[in-house]
């Protein structure tokens, strides 16, 4: 008798559990779809802020960047992805001596010539951006990197003719 009662009870609880499962799958069916349709969603999909797509060096309107060519990023990079090529420039500055006469002083200064970034060997570890003291480089969301030749993966991050932002001391 007890066995029979248990048998019937099991059938009913089993049916109840099955219905619970079906209810959950039905809810799943009615949920919005998670598929991203890639070429169609270009420009519509919002990527997360911390998504690391491509290393960039932001420039302002006067074609100026913040990189002082200190080379910390190059040293921190585990793959040798970054190569910084410096150049030395001479600036003539007019200074006023304590005696009151004006003298022209020639100063030599190391500035950035070319910031070479090899996309092909980058592992997107972000050690460069986190170690940069000037916050001169940052990640962008661009991720469509495929090119036909290896050479195209070497990118120069600073623009042609760009220079360092001159900070006002005042």
């Amino acid at each position: 008798m007890k066995e029979g009662f248990r048998y019937i009870k099991e059938i009913f609880t089993g049916c109840y559990r099955l219905l619970q499962g079906m209810y959950i799958t039905l809810l799943n069916m009615l949920r919005p779809k998670v598929t991203q349709q890639y070429p169609e969603n270009r420009g519509k999909k919002v990527y997360p802020e911390r998504f690391r797509g491509l290393l960039t060096m932001p420039h302002n309107e006067q074609n100026q960047h913040k990189c002082t060519a200190c080379g910390i990023c190059m040293m921190n990079c585990p793959n040798g992805t970054i190569e910084i090529i410096n150049k030395t420039i001479e600036t003539k500055i007019d200074t006023v001596t304590p005696e009151g006469e004006t003298r022209t002083v020639t100063k030599t200064k190391k500035v950035l010539d070319r910031y070479i970034y090899d996309l092909g060997s980058c592992t997107f570890c972000a050690l460069c951006t986190s170690s940069c003291p000037q916050n001169a480089i940052e990640w962008s969301n661009a991720f469509e990197h495929s090119v036909f030749t290896r050479n195209r993966l070497y990118k120069q991050l600073n623009m042609e003719g760009s220079e360092l932002i001159i900070k006002n001391k005042e």
């Binding site: 959950i24 069916m29 779809k33």
Partner: protein, 347 residues
């Protein structure tokens, strides 16, 4: 349809007109069969996608409508692979046996008012007999392929199909008791007042459920798909088939799902009969405006959806659990249900 008959009779003799009509009906049936298979494959893939929060096929044609057509073209172009040391006669025959059994069952469905091809006084017996012919084809395919996977798959399938045939038959017999006839057209006609699932009280509902479960198991799908459990048996009994021969198995599988749903909707949900409530004459009149084919296919696709829903909800059963479910639970329920229905009809 009478005008086709008249034209044929004027140009051909009576005998030849009859033969021509047979051929025409067969062609129409095969066309409907193939088109339905394409629709079902598309629906399956789409609904399966929805259950997994995906979109499903959406590249070929608008919303991927032509996807299954593209698949069909692909399967027609594929090579038929020659299997070493297989029993070639049985190997080739098996796919035809399966598809023939499936088409024979398909022909007995009442598609619409008047569109009913095979209809005679023991229609239900015919349905049960022909639909279980497929197991012969499955065993044949498994045996002749000369492979352990197909062999195990076919044996499992045989055990499963023969066991679940009992529950399916018993639950159909419940309705036969209620209606007092085995002729399918008569069964549909009797539901003009009210569908049997409402008319038959609890036993009819129970029979509907058990029939859906047993029918689901018979089509080798959903949680009962262990004849073709991919992870263990690659594809079960049709592992060695390729090209259009595999296509036949594929087609028969999907159409069997449709046939089970069609029988369920004919026996329990009134077939092509519109939804009628006794006494509400104006409501019934409005319902009659919807064409009968729409009713039949609507109900059938509802049952197909139920099958897909179950398929994407539950994990696969083990073979002993499967047989336990049939012999210890479903069959006793069906037998008790049969007695209950008899009592209701007699009293």
């Amino acid at each position: 349809m009478m005008w086709i008959d008249n034209i044929l009779r004027t140009y051909l003799g009576d005998t030849w007109a009859l033969i021509a009509e047979f051929v025409l009906i067969a062609i129409a049936l095969l066309t409907v069969y193939a088109v339905l298979a394409l629709i079902l494959i598309y629906a399956e893939r789409k609904i399966c996608g929805f259950f997994q929060c995906r979109i499903g096929p959406n590249r070929v044609g608008k919303w991927g409508i032509l996807q299954s057509v593209a698949d069909m073209v692909k399967i027609l172009l594929k090579e038929l692979i020659h299997i070493n040391r297989a029993d070639h006669f049985l190997f080739r025959l098996a796919s035809f046996v399966i598809i023939a059994a499936s088409i024979c069952t398909f022909a007995a469905l009442p598609f619409a008012d008047g569109a009913h091809i095979i209809d005679f006084n023991i229609g239900i017996f015919y349905l049960l007999a022909v639909s279980s012919l497929g197991v012969v084809g499955i065993l044949m395919a498994g045996w002749s392929s000369n492979s352990k996977y197909t062999m195990i798959g076919a044996m499992r399938s045989g055990a499963q199909l023969i066991s679940y045939e009992i529950s399916a038959g018993l639950s159909l017999l419940t309705i036969v008791i209620l209606s007092g006839t085995m002729q399918i057209s008569e069964i549909v006609a009797q539901q003009s007042e009210m569908w049997f699932i409402f008319k038959g009280h609890i036993p009819a509902c129970l029979a509907f459920l058990t029939y859906l479960i047993a029918g689901h198991a018979e089509t080798n799908r959903g949680p009962f798909d262990l004849p073709e459990a991919e992870s263990e048996l690659t594809a079960g009994y049709h592992t060695e088939y390729s090209g259009i021969q595999f296509g036949f198995f594929y087609l028969a599988e999907y159409l069997n799902m449709f046939i089970i749903a069609g029988i369920a909707s004919t026996m329990f949900l009134g077939g092509w009969m519109p939804f009628h409530i006794p006494g509400w004459d104006s409501f019934n009149g409005i319902m009659d405006y919807i064409p009968s084919a729409v009713w039949f296919f609507g109900k059938t696709f509802f049952c197909v959806f139920l099958a897909l829903w179950v398929r994407w909800s539950f994990p696969r059963l083990r073979i002993d659990q499967l047989l336990n479910l049939e012999w210890k639970i479903l069959m006793p329920i069906c037998l008790i249900n049969l007695i209950l229905m008899t009592l209701i009809v007699v009293l």
